[in-house]
Subunit: 214 residues, 2 copies
């Protein structure tokens, strides 16, 4: 269909989905399984993302095997100990109380990779990061679609990407962009956890928006 | 509100918005102005994106001044000549016929920057790209929200990011993530232009999805 028009109610609904999207961790995932249909729908939403030069440079590994997850969780533990040292005083003690991932608790994990093209890609010359950025657009689609399906998603970034590649036997040229956890949840809170816990404040949008130039 | 539940119709609508989102170029933008309210809604949707450690590391420059746009368009011309050389034979001749940006035709351009935090950011240690990736999530929110408002968006990646920083007087530590064009459109086509023109084929999703490991 050409020129499909959306209504004001449609915009409002999209705003609602965006506003109620949360990062979900292990203290909030339910063990209930996810159907293959649900996963298919989530991955299909990824493939509807924009990609530079229509390169669609994404690859997905769906992980349900608890043994594989245990290896990933081990990488988290090592990296989390290192990351923690960046914080001092009050933040250090609060850091150790945060639950930051749901690798073992989520019934499904999905590792998302950037697969570079062997051929030149239209639009990916002056800004070579565009390939990875396309994969991130796909991930944001997955996040919003999951939320609309009342399924929680969490993005785990405290991992050694090379170790994850090794565990998943990824090709050398692939780059890990995200390690995601999926499952039904106990609750979708109305605000981000780090905002609720006063770890960081919400920024004033006006202060980050400029006209014509800085 | 805690635990807001979305319905099957809500998912379908989100799927529709994702499916009908397109990259818009200069041959498709209308000159009609965009209201401040519309722009505010689009930028607010960016601020609803996930960000690593709730760091919200995004900054926006809204550009309407045709003189500023002309400087940016000049960078496009230079970079496009360089990029073009990567292609040979039939693709080279077809490349020169493609309209790849809408900098001057779109009534509004928005440059989106990643602003690194001065303090350590929770979750941005093992994978330092997480800051930029958060900005890309914000951009995908802007794209979907624009589409739901029947406003077109195009992402221009054929630009020298350092030259764009210079033109916009950006702080040294900022990184250009995206240069976006916004406006009403003549048509939202049902498929990506590069698919329609057989520049690239749509990939088989099955072939890019693995179970447990590669």
């Amino acid at each position: 269909m050409k020129n499909k028009q959306f209504t004001f109610d449609d915009q409002q609904l999209l705003e609602d989905i965006m506003t109620h999207r949360r990062d979900i961790r292990g203290n909030n995932f339910l063990p209930d399984p996810l159907s293959d249909d649900s996963l298919h729908k989530i991955i299909t939403s990824a493939s509807r993302a924009p990609s530079v030069g229509f390169s669609q440079p994404w690859e997905f590994v769906i992980i349900r095997d608890q043994q594989v997850k245990k290896h990933i969780a081990k990488s988290f533990s090592i990296e989390n100990k290192i990351a923690q040292r960046k914080f001092t005083d009050e933040k250090l003690s609060r850091y150790s109380e945060l639950k930051l991932e749901g690798i073992l608790e989520a019934p499904v994990n999905i590792a998302v990779f950037y697969k570079p093209s062997k051929m030149p890609v239209l639009g990916q010359n002056s800004m070579p990061e565009m390939g990875e950025y396309s994969v991130v657009c796909a991930i944001q689609n997955m996040w919003l679609m999951s939320r609309a399906m009342n399924i929680g998603m969490g993005w785990v970034s405290i991992l050694n990407p090379l170790r994850v590649k090794e565990i998943l036997n990824a090709p050398a040229e692939n780059k890990l962009v995200a390690y995601l956890c999926f499952g039904y949840v106990k609750a979708f809170f109305s605000t981000p956890e780090l905002e609720r816990l006063h770890w960081e404040k919400r920024k004033d949008l006006q202060a980050t928006t400029y006209n014509e130039r800085f």
